[in-house]
Amino acid sequence: MNLDLLRPEICMALTALAAVGADLLFKRKAIVTAVCLAGIAAATGLTFSIMGNAPQIIANRLFSLDDYAIFFKFLFLGLAFIVIVASVDYVNRMKDFHGEFHALLITATLGAMLTASATDIISILLSVELTAISFYALVGFLKNGKTAESSIKYVLLGAINSAVLLYGFSMLFGFTGSTVLSGMERATAAIPSGGAAGGAGLLFGLMLVIAGFGFKIAAVPFHMWAPDVYEGAPTPVTLYLSTASKIAGFAVLTRILVTPFMQPVALARNWGIILAGIAALTMTTGNLLAIPQVNIKRLLSYSSIAQSGYMLVAVAALGMSSSNFLQARSSLLYFILAFAFAELAVFTAIVVMSRNKPADLISDYAGLARRSPLLGVAMTLGLLSLMGLPPLAGFMGKFYVFTQAAQHGLLWLVIIAVVNSVVSAYYYLRIIKTIWTDEPASEEPVSSSLGPRFALAFACLGIAVLGVAPAIITRFSEFGSHMFMP
């Protein structure tokens, strides 16, 4: 069974319980935060202790421990740490539910970590649900009409989505005769490359699975929930939703597609082309709909949809790459890392701004650079990185992804993506202009405690390092891409 390889996850589960317990026992709510941060730090240490080995199977092929899983475990733990640190001021707005908020954040992280290493329909389903259910509760955390509304939209659409996902999985199971990804791979390898036997059924199942995860990653046409949920949810939850939930979706989608459905080549080409079409739609819709927005969270949700489109370009390239997929996958991992840092920088600034009262309109950020240089610089760096300006992380990510796509015969998609990047510059630069040149409504400086400042500095550092010295990180994302086991 070697369940001991799930040490980090077990540690996170205990942390979630400890957070609720600490909330009951102690009056000082800072203790809950400290317990969570300590738990995450311990889980990170435990992840270090299990890394570096050859790929291993856990619990009779329910999970596997490979470098790909470890890459995502570190990423999710880091994200959870930064989100908790960034929202130490914000959580005072919900002081009655301090423990629950943190416990749910931890369980969402736990679900995401399990998702990244799940290799069986059962474990994929349960870990995806664990993340989703934690988020359903988190999205509705502030008691006002808006969050209740975004929460119900998320729950209803999410429930429909999990039914679609399950139906897709049942098709994959039926046409391969196995619930384990490695068993599916064996079945697809046995299909003669010219024959259509099982091909149509498999493609149907894959379409449903892509639709299911397309919802998680907010790909068009399954993106309708994202703007409403991002706008209504508490801002730290929006931050976590736009990073962890989306990245977990990409992690598991990529693991399902690569390598079990890389053969026969015709099948891989088919889903590659389908994903390329979805990517083109997603980028274009996201960028065009972001332009008229006046609410910053809504604008960023459309921007985040567009970023999903760029990530899908990399996944589509995986499908077209046949057996030579390692480079394409490490380009995806690199882009994800760059995206996570940029989202952290931008959303942490919004969390700080809305710690006392909502600051959702772009006009609330007028003259921000004068009121708080740190917030202004961090937000600018984040937005420029999302836009893909050369010395920053986002540029390297896009460069890496687009090169891979062009190499694998998706030049038309790269052209669409580059045109989209240009369009996106318009709305990103509009926010930056507001931050630096507009007159602030009040000259009052924005105060923030040490936590958010640390988060902002960390995110800025990440954006700069990833952009200026990508070699350090490419090694990390290539590490995540090697030694991959279904």
């Binding site: 059962i122 999410g158 039914a163 399950l166 139906y167 199971f173 039926g174 706008e231």
Partner: protein
């Protein structure tokens, strides 16, 4: 004459479509959740049927179905809690009235 795999698959496809139609067309949030249950059970049915006919020895499909029933129960528990929270805020569970957020 006994029912074959095709019969079960057609039944499950029909159930899934009914559920999807209901989930997209119904106004009451609770009814939408019920329609989602139909969709989930359609998927469970196809899992169990595939398991019976494709891998009669291993019970893998049945196992997935049992786990998915558990997950669906958890999902509906949270879903109903959210519906109650919404009712307290707005006094309605009609999804057509949930329109504060739109672009």
């Amino acid at each position: 004459m006994t029912a074959g795999l095709n019969n079960y698959l057609v039944l499950s496809a029909v159930l899934f479509s009914i559920g999807l139609y209901g989930a997209l067309s119904r106004k009451n949030a609770v009814v939408v959740l019920m329609c989602v249950e139909i969709m989930l059970n359609a998927a469970n049915l196809s899992l169990v049927a595939f398991s019976r006919f494709v891998t009669p020895v291993a019970l893998s499909g049945q196992t997935v179905a049992i786990f998915s029933i558990t997950a669906a129960a958890a999902e509906v528990a949270v879903g109903l809690a959210v519906v109650i929270a919404l009712y307290r805020q707005r006094g309605t569970v009609d999804v057509n009235d949930i329109n504060l957020l739109k672009w």
